[in-house]
């Protein structure tokens, strides 16, 4: 129950970040979200490692906003805040318990089932991406040299192709099991 309450607070904070327009409020929410992640990770290095991709992405967004003439990087701050509040919220919720404690067909059951499927598919894709990028790095170990860029592009294209294939198979498997529209 305490975990669910904690997740609820984090979800409210994420919602506040979606609705806030004041850059100072957004900056405070983003900082709070980052600190929450670091506190939950236990170790500073592992917390920062988890946040690195979203921080890089937010940096890219901020530079686009700056190029577009925006005085404050609202979108980048909002992205960091929402993402960094949602990740620990998702970790706090015991999804399997939520699913088994609900009546099949109820709205909450459907939401939990959908999110569990998203989590499962994300893990499958993360595994695919990890293996493919390791294979690319082993095949073209010398960065920036001949073949490195083109192999990276082909590896990402293969990942996209495989993601579609896996999604199709996953959808078919759920359909056969009677889960789905």
């Amino acid at each position: 129950m305490r975990r669910l309450a904690g997740a609820g607070v984090l979800l409210m904070a994420a919602l506040a970040a979606v609705m806030a327009t004041d850059p100072a409020v957004l900056a405070a929410l983003a900082a709070g979200a980052v600190l929450t992640n670091l506190a939950m990770a236990g170790r500073l290095a592992s917390g920062l490692r988890r946040l690195a991709p979203i921080l890089v992405f937010a940096g890219f967004l901020a530079s686009l906003e700056w190029l577009g003439g925006a005085a404050q990087p609202r979108l980048a701050l909002r992205t960091v805040a929402v993402f960094a509040f949602l990740v620990p919220a998702a970790r706090l919720i015991l999804w399997e318990e939520l699913l088994t404690s609900r009546r099949p067909g109820s709205a909450l059951f459907r939401i939990a089932l959908f999110l569990l499927m998203v989590r499962h598919f994300t893990r499958v894709l993360a595994g695919e991406a990890w293996r493919l990028l390791i294979a690319q790095a082993l095949a073209a170990p010398r960065k920036w040299r001949k073949g490195w860029w083109s192999s990276l592009v082909w590896a990402l294209a293969a990942l996209f192709r495989r993601a579609l294939l896996r999604a199709e198979r996953f959808y078919a498997a759920q359909l056969v099991r009677g889960i789905g529209p």
């Binding site: 293996r131 493919l132 082993l138 170990p141 001949k146 192999s151 082909w154």
Partner: protein, 230 residues
């Protein structure tokens, strides 16, 4: 003579989990074909990833007498369990030429060596094919050819016969026997390991439970059953 692979006291656990490898110690000498035999989930693939530095175990790993570093991996050919992970370029020739071109080999020479590697695995004539148009057995052999194109001194194979039918597994074993490269292969396929391995290590729950020649390990049905391999 320096061992090609040396692992001493390896311990490894995934974040927040129980140890997957427990005090694993072994060596692979030049010219050996060592099979790591173990049931599903025994830590075979994890051990391979630890040997090439993708996972960081505690203990010591040395390849060719040196601690593992990125440059050293250019002397190693690694074959993934799923060949599709390795064959992502538009044609087999492009897949095989990539590591050579990246290392500065001239395109004509890279092409010659790629075709030679394909021929060694019985895949001549398929250089222009996209990997997705091949059978699984052909893709497995193509992945080995891709690893061989750079003339590695050590070949690491992760479950090469997974999902292969008997005939394809036999063809693969025959191809590996002809290569003459120091090989470390993980598998739970007793027949395949019996064909190719000169020595076996049995990995059970992350520990080396036995080591010895295949004829000794593979005939001990009582222990094989206890290890969950029969």
């Amino acid at each position: 003579m320096t061992a090609i692979v040396e692992a001493r006291g390896l311990w490894f656990a995934y974040e927040g989990g129980e140890p997957v490898l427990r005090n694993v110690t072994f060596a692979v000498e030049p010219g050996e074909r060592v099979g790591i035999l173990g049931p599903n989930g025994s830590g075979k693939s994890t051990l391979l990833w630890c040997l090439v530095g993708l996972y960081k175990p505690s203990g010591e790993v040395r390849l060719f007498g040196e601690p593992v570093h990125r440059k050293l991996l250019e002397r190693v050919g690694i074959v993934f369990q799923n060949p599709e992970d390795m064959l992502f370029m538009p044609s087999l020739a492009a897949d095989l030429c990539l590591p050579l071109l990246n290392r500065g080999v001239a395109p004509a020479e890279a092409d010659r060596r790629a075709r030679e590697a394909l021929a060694r695995l019985g895949l001549d004539g398929l250089a222009s094919k996209d990997a997705s148009s091949l059978s699984l057995g052909q893709r497995k052999r193509a992945a080995i050819a891709a690893a061989l194109a750079t003339s590695p001194e050590l070949l690491l194979l992760d479950e090469p016969t997974a999902e292969l039918d008997g005939r394809s597994a036999r063809t693969l074993a025959a191809a590996l026997l002809e290569l003459g490269v120091t090989t470390l292969v993980t598998s739970h396929d007793l027949t395949f390991l019996g064909r190719i391995a000169t020595r076996l290590l049995v990995l059970v729950e992350g520990e080396i439970a036995a080591a010895g020649p295949p004829e000794e390990i593979l005939t001990d049905t009582t222990r094989l059953e206890a290890w969950g391999l029969l």
